[in-house]
Amino acid sequence: MKFLQNAFDSVKPNFEKGGKWKKFYPIYEGHRTIFFKPDLVTGKTGSQIRDAADLKRTMFTVIIALIPCLLFGMWNVGYQHFLATGVDATNMEMFLIGAQQLIPIIIVAYAVGLSTEFTFCVIRNHPVEEGFLVTGILIPLVMPPAIPLWQVALATVFAVIIAKEVFGGTGMNILNVALTARAFLYFAYPSQISGEVWTFMGDKTAVDGYSGATILSYGATAVQNGSDMMADLGGHWYDGMFSFVSLFLGTVPGSIGETSTLMCLIGAAILIITGVGSWKIIVSVFGGAWTMGLLFNALAVNSFMAMPAHFHLVIGGLAFGAVFMATDPVSAAQTETGKWVYGFLIGVITVIIRVVNPAYPEGIMLAILFMNVFAPLIDYYVVEANKKRRLSRAAV
C-alpha cells in the first residue's frame, strides 16, 4: 500500500499551512484516514498505550448490524411489488427490482449527506466525523420505497444541518439525525410519506382490490369507524398478509428496512454481542410497548386497543426503532439507570400514539424524538441521586 501512501504524501503539501488548498485540509485528512489508521501517538504524559477500538470501528459495527435489514428490505420491496401487480417472480427478480429501487436512494442519501458534512467541516474547520456513516444508511431504511429522490436529498440536508451540525457535530446532537430526516418529510410532505406509498409499483398497475394500507392504518381506520380491526385484517386483499408470522418475518408493506422484526433481532444480536448497542434500551423499549399494550387490552374501548399486546412488538417500526434508533448513544440517556427509564417510556409512548392518536398511525418516530429531548432530564435526576448518595456517605 506504499503507492497510496505516496499518493497522499504527494498532495499533502497543498493542504497544509501555506498550501493553496489549506482550507480543504479536513477533506484530505478525512480521505486519508479511511485508507489508513493515522500515525498519531499518545501524549507526553498520561496513558502511553491506547485501546484498539476507535469511533470508526464502532460505527462500522452498526452498519454491519444493519445489513440483514437492508438485504431483506431490498427483497421485500420486490416481493410487495410483484404481489401488488399480480406477477409471479423468482426471489432473484424480487431482490433485483428492490435493489434497483433502493440503491439510488442510498446513493443520494450518502452523496448529499457527505457533501453537506464535508462543507461544514471545511467551514468550521473540524475533522470529518464518522457519525454520518450510520446516518447515511439509516435514512434510506426509514423511507417508503416510492419516495422521490429529491425529498431524500432535502431531508438529508435538513437533518445533517439542523439536527447535527448546528449543535457542533457528532457527539453533540440532541435529536437522532436519521429520525429528524424522516420527521421533516413527515410534516413537510405528508402526502408522500403516508397513505399509498408503501408499495413500489413503477409503471405497472395494481391487481383488483389492491390496497397499500399498513396494519397501522387498519388500526387507525378501525378506531374511526368503530369496526373490528382483527376482522378487517382478515378481509385484506391478500389472504394472510397480516398474520403474526408474516408481520414477524416482515413480508408486509412498510418503510424499506423496518418491516422485518426478525432481521432487526439479528441486528440487535450483533449490537449486543459487540457491546455497541445498549441491551438495556432495546429490552426496555419492547417491555414498555408490551406493558402499554396489555394495559390497553384491559381497557379495550375500541378494537385497536383490544389487539393482542404482542402484535405491538412486530407491527410498524417498533423493532427497528428500538434496535437502531433508540440505542444511538449520543441522543439516548447516558446513565445506566436512565437507559431503563428512557427505553421503557419510548415503548409506552409509541403505543399510546399508535392507539390513541389516529392522526399519527406510527408512533415510534415521534416517541424516540420526544424521549431524545427528555433524555437529559432523566439523566439529570440520575446524576442528582448519585450526588446525594455520595454526599450522605461523606462523614463531614
Binding site: F36, A52, R57, N386, R390
Partner: protein, 144 residues
Amino acid sequence: MLTGRNAGKDGYLSYFHHQVTAIPEGDQEEFMGWLLPSSKKLSFHRSLGLLSFLSRGKERVVDTNTNGEHRQFVISGAFEDVVPMDILPTYLFKSIVANDYDEMEALGIYELVEEDVALCEFIDVSKNEIQSLLREGIEMVRNS
C-alpha cells in the same frame, strides 16, 4: 504504561520514577487499520473485528499509537465499568470541560487522581486525554 511519562530517546529519570518500560513507538500508518479484524490488538471493547476478548490471557505487543483520532464523547456506559468508585466519570469529565466548579465537587473530583481514571483513558473510543483533563480540573478547584 497507563499513567506514565514519555521520557523519549535522550530522556532522563528523576527522584520519583521507579519503573522504566520500553514499548515500540506506533508512529506509522496501518492500511485499513481501523477496519481489518485482528486478534493481536488489545481492546476492552468487542467492536467488529476486535477479537482480543476471545483470548484474554494471551500476551500482546502494544505500541504507542492512539489507534484513532480525537472525537467528542460519544459512547456511554463504558467508563463506569472501569471505575470502581460510585462516580459517574463521563459527567465529571464534561463538567471539567465546562469549567463547572460546583458540579466537579459534587461529582467527586476530590476522590480522584490521575491513576484512578487511567483505565478510562485507555479504553476511551474517542481518544480524549482524560488524565490531563482531570489534573486540569483538580488544579482548577484547588486554585479557586
